[in-house]
Every structure is written in structure tokens, then in C-alpha cells.
């Protein structure tokens, strides 16, 4: 009977007795059980409509037998102590079941100390607690504040007693032992009498790694992968590992198996942090870098909560790559006439301080250079035939280097060299293509997705034409977006930031194509991903005094619906409703700059530079800026920052019929792209600012007259402006990056302009 000595069934009007009732003395056994079940029978006579609170049988027995109930017992009996249900004669019956392993109080994973207060005695002969230990731990149990003798046991998951504490009288009980990962039970039971008790359970994971540099776990020389399992949390806030590498090595670290957020750092022998990995939540951490010979430390530490972890470390020696590039101009590797793209893999460092490449151009060409795959800082220079510097790229750390410019025919050299003698492999891409004819009105011409996306995939010929969509999708047709869609390139996987007046994130054509910050928990008031912005789920409102995560259009002025129109041109869903975006597989990151008045001015515009940096740091690969902004060093620095991270800034040229683009589009001479507006007949719009006289201006054209797109409130409408042209190009760039995510900023600019359709 599941531990019950007796049971009374209302349905059957029958008292059932367990055989065990006969095995104990009369008062607590057969006699007591019968009296108790009679009490339940009387209860049904007085309360025929159902059960009332309290254990009537227990109370009746105590009254009949003259047993006094203590406060704790009385409290329990008043509430109810029929904890179990058994089935007899086909009906369910509540019974006063003994506590058991199966009904143990589950306290989950035990880390640190937990304390419980309860009661055992004649009416509650067992208290079981169930807990898990996830890492080998030092376990301690304490039972005190006893008023009668009670004992305690620790049992394994099968209920086998591992250890008991049987101190006499009211002396405290204690158990100390090591527990391996698994499930355990603690059992508290009375030896004589009834007593309240205070039970403390504690499990502190064993710490195999030291908590400081000096006590770091020394794993010796690191080469092939070594794996360590341990724990960090509130009771172990640091795990240090010490290792050494005997030669320049490709170090790799992976921290996995997290159940709470933990971070990791690599430090040099002086304890200086070289690099951190700060992924949010339980996402794995990783660090990859080149290490020169020496001693290093790895630090694992909790960000929040307790977690086990698996740490994998490896540091294979950097393979020796044959030096294919000469170390002087005279011994430069001669790659002949450069046409199309050539890629070279090599090494520079302390033992190879220069790699020179020599190439020639038969005609004036668009030249671009990209240096990637760096494990340490290296820089690059472009020199003319006399060895005179033409242009340098000096990005810091392992950031890619790039140079893009127009070169006249002739002979040139590229020099790759380490910064501060650091050792690194590299991948050098050199490309040259005949320049499109730059035009002071149209720049390099009409953006052409069929050619640009094809070039992004390495094809020299544009994708085949497909029938026009027609109607209000004429803008997609004009930039040949359907040709890229037909090849499966829709912008999928690319995040496009729209820095504007906000976006209607509930719009039927946009809501499924929005970027959301998966590392942030909505509405908890915490900056979960530690990016500096609290609860930034859909982006951020940079309007001064409005940093409230509200990216929706905030007013009903004409300009406030602007961002929604721009976003639709880029990424409105291909769903048969309204219209379709150029890159309808991409996702929009909405960054609102504030409120817009009825003349189109931001009344509380925030920092555009901050918005650009937010977009870059939070995963955007393209940033559309259909806006005008004052020049500032901060803005230029942010544009340069985006380019250095291979994030493409696309800016509207402006609507004032000026001879050259306004700000920020004007900086397309160095970073990003400027866009002017044409109508459906490919004629420049009267209002559109022109490309200017500087062919370094990466200026292209796109549809910007009578452009049909989304408006707040599930509406659509036609608008004119270079603001409408810019998102067409942002969409084309998203298509390019979905076809080839490895494109650098320089490569995107070069491909976009050189593939554009000439207009005159």
C-alpha cells in the first residue's frame, strides 16, 4: 500500500489495512490505524459533499488515544498529510504515505550551501531530499537544532546508503565526503521522539585549476590539443592554466559545455591580457591567435552563475611556408601583367621581414589589394616602378589591410611586411580591371546586380537576364536584382542597418525580415550582451534623450515614415503583398536617429557616429544612410571604422542639385559608396546631387523617382529622392555579400563601380 498502514475509501465505504499494521505495537499499529480510518469514515458522514482541509483521521486518533500533538505536528495535520494516492478496488484513495525516495523534495543541482528547516517524528518518519552534483565536489551535510534524537543518511541514486551519521540525543549530525557527478538523496529520520531540525547541504566543486597566476595549473608545453573539465562560479571565481610554447604557434582555445555565462582570457607571462572572449550566455568562447615562444596563462571565470566547462587548448607550431616572394625590389616575385584577381599565400615575420610582388598594368585600371588571414599585425604598401610609396594600409592588429585606387599603366610593387616583427601567414589578393568611365553627373553609372553579384562569385560575365517584374517593381528591374534572385542570391544571412527615422517593425512586409539581437533578453533591464545598450532587441534609438529602444517611427510627420520606406526597398518580403525588396532575404537592423519635424529635420538627432559603430559592432555588413549630417571627426572616424571591419556604408548623395555629394556621402572618396537618383528612364533626377569631379568618389546611380515602398501602418506609397536610391544600392551590396561574405570593403566598392552600367 505504498507505505500506508491503512486507507479509507469513500467510494467503496471500506477500510483497508496493510499487513504491516500487524507488525508493530497495538497503539501505533492495528489499533491506531483502525481508529484513524474510523475517523475518516466519520468525516464522510459529516461532510458528504467532499474532503475538508486537515487529516481528520490523525486528529481523531490523537483525541481517542489521548496523544498530545506538538505545534509542528498540529500544523502539519491541520494542513493535510495525505501525501500519497493509491488505487484499491479500482478507485483512487488518498493515503498518509510515508515519504520515500520517489517523493523526495527535489532541490536540483547543489552548488554552494542550501539550508532547510523541517520536522520528523511519529507522524513524519522520513524526510528525503534529492539533489544533483554536476562536478566532482566536496560534500558536507549538517543536521542541528534538534530537540529529540534524529539521524541522517546520504544515499546514491539507487537508494543505497553511502554514509550515515548517528549521533546520540540532540547532538548535531554531520557527513563529509567527496561526491562524483550524479544524483543523491539525503534522508532525515527520527531515532526517538519528534523534532524540528535544520539541515544544511553543501557541495563545492573540486578545483583542479588554481585561482591565481602563481597557483595556475601548469600543463607544460602546449602543442596538440589538451582538454580540461572543471568548474567556475560563485565559489570558484577563477581558474588559471599555465602553458608554454617553444616556437611561434597557432594558438587555439575553445570553451564549451557551459550551463551559465563564463568568459575566458589569454595572458602573457606578465599577466597582461592579450585577448578575451566574452560571448554572451552559454555560447562557446573561442580565441585564436599566433603566439611567439614563451609562457602564457589562460584564465576562465564566471560572468554570471555557476557552470562546469570543457576547455580545449592547442598550439601547433606555425608551419614553415616556403618564401615565394623576394625580400627586395630586385628579387620581387614577378606576377606579370595583372588582370582579374590573383591570390597569394605566404608568411612574414622575424625571419622574413619583407615580401615583394611585382606586377604591371597595360592600361589605366581600377586596382584593389586585400591582405587577409592574419595571425599577427602586418601592413602593406603599394610602390611605383621606382620603389616610391604610392599608398599604404596600416590597419591595427589582425584587421585586414586594403588599398583601392585607380592606377595608370606601368610597373608596380606590393610590399607585405610584419609590424613589430610579428610572425604571421597571410593571404594577398590583387586585382585590376579596366575602369568604368567616371562621369561627373552619374559617377560610375547605374548599379547592376546581375554583374556585381556575378563578379562577387568570381564570374566575369553577368548573370543571364530574366523577364522584368514590371509595375511598381520597376526599381528591382532597373538594378537587375531579379537576375541575382534567379541564382539564389537574395541577401540571406546579411544584416543591413538602416540608420534613419525608425522602422515600423510591425509592418506586414517587414516584420519577418528584421534583425533582432539574440544575445539580449527583452525587457529585463540588463545589458545581457554587454554591448553598452540595455534591452536593444530591435536596434536602438539614438535620438538625444530617447535612448529607450523605441525604433518605431515616433511621430506622424512625413520624415518619420522615411525609414520604413527605405527599409522596404531593401528587404520587404517577397510575399505577394505590396512590393518586394532588392535583398528580400536580408534582415533590417533599425537604428533610429530621433524625431523628425514636418520639414524633415531631426529635432533631437543623436550621434550618427555612435549609430555607425553600433551597426558594425552588432553584426551589420551594410549600413544605409539616407540622411544628411554635419561633418565631424567622429563621423569620419566611424566611417573609417566601418570600412576597416569590411562593413559597407551606402549614403544618399543628397537632394539639392549640387555638383557633388553631401555629407556623409561625400566621404565615398575614402569609405563606402555614394548614390544618386535616376528615374525609370535612367535619367538623373533634377534634385539629385551629382557625382563631382573626383573619380575617387565611388558614386553610382539607382532608382529614386516614384519609388513604391512600405510606409508605417501596413501602408505603401511613392516617394522621390536619393534617399530612395541609396537603399537600392544597399540591397545590391547585400546580394553581393550573400553570394560572397568574404568580400572586403575595397572589393565591394571596386566591384560595384566597375560593374555599373555606364550612363551619360
Amino acid at each position: 500500500m505504498g507505505g500506508a498502514r491503512g486507507a479509507y475509501s469513500r467510494d467503496r465505504n471500506t477500510i483497508y489495512l496493510a499487513a504491516s499494521s500487524l507488525e508493530v505495537d497495538n497503539l501505533t499499529g492495528l489499533q491506531g490505524t483502525l481508529i484513524e480510518e474510523v475517523g475518516h469514515y466519520i468525516d464522510t458522514l459529516l461532510n458528504p459533499d467532499g474532503e475538508t482541509p486537515g487529516d481528520e483521521g490523525e486528529l481523531f486518533r490523537s483525541v481517542v488515544l489521548g496523544n498530545a500533538l506538538g505545534d509542528a505536528e498540529l500544523l502539519q495535520v491541520r494542513a493535510e498529510d495525505d501525501f500519497g494516492v493509491i488505487t484499491l478496488d479500482g478507485v483512487a484513495i488518498a493515503v498518509e504515505q510515508d515519504n520515500s525516495l520517489t517523493s523526495a523534495r527535489n532541490i536540483g543541482t547543489l552548488i554552494g550551501t542550501q539550508t532547510f528547516t523541517d520536522f520528523v517524528g511519529s507522524t513524519d518518519t522520513n524526510d528525503y531530499y534529492r539533489f544533483n552534483v554536476t562536478a566532482t565536489s566536496n560534500f558536507t551535510l549538517g543536521l542541528n537544532r534538534l530537540s529529540a534524537d534524529a539521524d541522517v543518511q546520504i544515499l546514491n541514486s539507487a537508494g543505497v546508503v553511502l554514509q550515515s551519521s548517528l549521533a546520540s540525543g540532540t547532538n548535531p549530525e554531520a557527513i563529509t565526503r567527496t561526491l562524483t557527478p550524479g544524483t543523491y538523496y539525503a534522508r532525515v529520520y527520527p531515532f526517538w521522539g519528534s523534532t524540528n531540525y535544520n539541515l544544511s547541504l553543501s557541495a563545492v566543486p573540486r578545483d583542479s585549476a588554481g585561482n591565481s597566476l602563481t597557483t595556475a595549473r601548469n600543463i607544460g608545453t602546449l602543442s596538440s590539443t589538451q582538454t580540461f573539465t572543471d568548474f567556475v562560479g560563485s565559489v570558484d571565481t577563477n581558474d588559471y592554466y599555465r602553458f608554454s610554447v617553444g616556437t611561434t604557434s597557432n594558438f587555439s582555445l575553445a570553451l564549451n559545455g557551459l550551463s551559465a555565462d563564463a568568459d575566458v582570457q589569454i595572458l602573457n607571462s606578465a599577466g597582461v591580457v592579450l585577448q578575451s572572449s566574452l560571448a554572451s550566455g552559454t555560447s562557446p568562447e573561442s580565441i585564436r591567435r599566433t603566439l611567439t615562444a614563451g609562457t602564457y596563462y589562460v584564465r576562465v571565470y564566471p560572468f554570471g552563475g555557476n557552470t562546469n566547462y570543457t576547455l580545449a587548448l592547442s598550439a601547433p607550431a606555425v608551419p614553415t611556408i616556403p618564401d615565394s616572394a623576394g625580400n627586395t625590389l630586385g628579387t620581387a616575385r614577378n606576377i606579370g601583367t595583372l588582370s582579374g584577381t590573383r591570390t597569394f599565400t605566404d608568411f612574414v615575420g622575424s625571419v622574413d621581414t619583407n615580401d615583394y610582388y611585382r606586377f604591371s598594368l597595360g592600361t589605366t585600371s581600377n586596382f584593389s589589394l586585400a591582405l587577409n588571414g592574419l595571425g599577427a599585425d602586418a601592413d602593406v604598401q603599394l610602390l611605383n616602378s621606382a620603389g616610391v610609396l604610392v599608398q599604404s594600409s596600416l590597419a591595427s592588429g589582425t584587421n585586414p589591410e586594403s588599398i583601392t585606387r585607380t592606377l595608370a599603366s606601368g610597373t608596380y610593387y606590393v610590399r607585405v611586411y610584419p609590424f613589430n616583427g610579428s610572425n604571421t601567414n597571410y593571404s594577398l589578393s590583387l586585382s585590376a580591371s579596366p575602369p568604368s568611365q567616371f562621369n561627373s553627373t552619374y559617377g560610375y553609372g547605374l548599379a547592376n546586380a546581375a554583374a556585381a553579384v556575378a563578379r562577387a562569385t568570381g564570374q566575369t560575365t553577368p548573370f543571364a537576364s530574366v523577364p522584368d517584374l514590371g509595375g511598381n517593381n520597376w526599381g528591382n528591374d532597373l538594378v537587375n536584382a531579379p537576375e541575382a534572385w534567379a541564382r539564389g542570391y537574395t541577401g540571406r544571412g546579411v544584416v543591413v542597418a538602416v540608420i534613419d527615422s525608425g522602422v515600423d517593425i510591425n509592418h506586414q512586409d517587414l516584420r519577418n525580415n528584421l534583425w533582432t539581437n539574440s544575445r539580449e533578453i527583452a525587457g529585463n533591464g540588463i545589458d545581457d550582451d554587454r554591448n553598452g545598450y540595455v534591452d536593444d532587441i530591435y536596434g536602438w534609438n539614438f535620438g538625444i534623450g530617447q535612448n529607450n529602444n523605441n525604433v518605431l517611427p515616433g511621430t506622424t510627420s512625413s520624415g518619420q515614415g522615411h525609414g520604413t520606406h527605405v527599409a522596404g526597398t531593401i528587404a520587404a518580403a517577397n510575399n505577394g503583398i505590396g512590393m518586394t525588396g532588392v535583398a528580400h532575404g536580408s534582415r533590417i537592423m533599425s537604428l533610429r536617429m530621433g524625431n523628425v519635424d514636418n520639414s524633415g529635420r531631426f529635432t533631437n538627432g543623436g550621434s550618427l557616429a555612435q549609430a555607425i559603430r553600433y551597426a558594425v559592432d552588432n553584426g551589420a555588413r551594410v549600413i544605409n544612410m539616407s540622411l544628411g549630417w554635419p561633418d565631424s571627426p567622429e563621423l569620419r572616424s566611424a566611417l573609417a571604422y566601418a570600412a576597416s571591419r569590411n562593413v559597407i556604408t551606402v549614403s544618399a548623395a543628397g537632394n539639392e542639385t549640387q555638383s557633388s555629394p553631401g555629407t556623409p556621402a561625400r566621404y565615398a572618396t575614402e569609405w563606402g559608396v555614394s548614390v544618386g537618383a535616376v528615374n525609370r528612364d535612367r535619367v538623373i533626377a533634377s534634385f539629385s546631387n551629382r557625382a563631382g569631379s573626383n573619380s575617387q568618389m565611388q558614386h553610382v546611380m539607382a532608382p529614386g523617382v516614384q519609388v513604391y515602398s512600405t510606409l508605417p501602418g501596413n501602408r505603401y506609397g511613392f516617394l522621390d529622392g536619393t534617399s530612395m536610391a541609396s537603399p537600392h544600392v544597399a540591397g545590391v551590396v547585400a546580394l553581393m555579400l550573400s553570394a560572397n561574405p568574404n568580400l572586403t570593403s575595397a572589393q565591394v566598392r571596386s566591384i560595384l563601380t566597375s560593374s555599373a552600367t555606364r550612363l551619360a
Binding site: 539616407s626 537632394n655 539639392e656
Partner: protein
């Protein structure tokens, strides 16, 4: 919420005093703001037969505006930017939804033959108009020369419509952006 106090003025129509009306800078607002009123009587539209439809205790009030010049969102301190200008013109009212033709413009010659045409009213020098209508769904366009114009559409390509409900006034704005560049 916008509050309206409406006083019956004469037998032909009603003079509406709108206290606290948030004109703001709304444009193409077609979702509208409906407001309860208890004593309003708005003059009905005039039909093509020059008949004045009966006064109603619900309807539409609105403003017709035109935007011109550079309206690109900016922080540029450009004082030459133009503000929305009121438009005095004829307002055309159709019952139900009207499918668009792929353009905000709809020739009057065609529109006037549409069987859903209800009637028209006019906006004053401030661009404001008011019209009493029986409860239902309406499409409202402003006339510019020989075309009607409404630059607001729904996902199925129809012009955005307005719901008129019993004893309430729906507020809309009709904004022409043809000569603005964003």
C-alpha cells in the same frame, strides 16, 4: 487622445471647434483618429446632381497639405526647407475601397464615372475640410488639376480607405509629396 467639442451652428452645417487638436505634422494618416461626439452634425457631401446629402452625426474631418523641396531627414540647419502648405481644393469621396492604378493620380474623367462615387466637399484656405457621412468605409482623394491624388495604398494595391463609425469623427490628412524629394 484628441478631444473635440462640436457645437451646432446653423441648418446647413456645423461649426466645429476643435480644442486641443494635435495637428502636429501628420501626413497620409489614414488610420485616422476617431472621437466620440454627442451633438455634432456635419454637412453631407454634394452629389454630382448638385444635391446636398443630409447632415450626419459622424463623418470625416481632414487637412490637405502639400510638401515641396528637399525633405531628406537631416541635421543640417537649413532654413530654406519648406513647411507643409495647405491646399484648397475639391475633395472626392467614394464608398468602399477603390483599387489603385499603380499611381497616386487618378484622372477625374475616369473617377467621376466610378459607381462608388458618393460626392464631394471642399477644403478651405487652411486646407481643412469636413463632411458628414453615414457609417461605412470610404476612400477620399484630393483633386489636383484634372486628376485626383492619394499617395497611400494597402497591400492589395487599393487606395487606403477610411472607416466612419457611428457618432464619431475620423481625422485624416491628405498630403501631396509629388514635388518633394526625400
Amino acid at each position: 487622445m484628441t478631444q473635440y467639442k462640436i457645437i451646432k451652428f446653423n441648418r446647413l452645417g456645423a461649426f466645429i471647434l476643435m480644442i486641443g487638436l494635435i495637428l502636429g505634422t501628420t501626413w497620409i494618416i489614414f488610420s485616422g483618429r476617431s472621437n466620440s461626439m454627442t451633438q455634432a452634425m456635419l454637412a453631407g457631401p454634394a452629389t454630382s446632381a448638385q444635391q446636398q446629402l443630409t447632415d450626419q452625426s459622424q463623418g470625416i474631418v481632414g487637412t490637405v497639405l502639400s510638401l515641396t523641396g528637399n525633405q531628406m531627414p537631416s541635421v543640417d540647419g537649413n532654413d530654406r526647407r519648406s513647411h507643409p502648405q495647405p491646399v484648397s481644393t475639391k475633395i472626392w469621396i467614394f464608398s468602399g475601397k477603390i483599387m489603385g492604378s499603380g499611381s497616386p493620380r487618378w484622372p477625374v474623367a475616369v473617377a467621376s464615372q466610378h459607381p462608388a462615387f458618393v460626392g464631394w466637399t471642399t477644403s478651405n484656405a487652411e486646407g481643412q475640410f469636413q463632411v458628414g457621412l453615414v457609417p461605412g468605409e470610404y476612400t477620399v482623394l484630393a483633386q489636383y488639376d484634372s486628376d485626383l491624388y492619394l499617395n497611400s495604398f494597402l497591400g492589395d494595391g487599393s487606395y487606403s480607405s477610411v472607416q466612419v463609425t457611428s457618432a464619431k469623427v475620423t481625422d485624416i490628412e491628405l498630403v501631396n509629396t509629388e514635388n518633394a524629394a526625400f
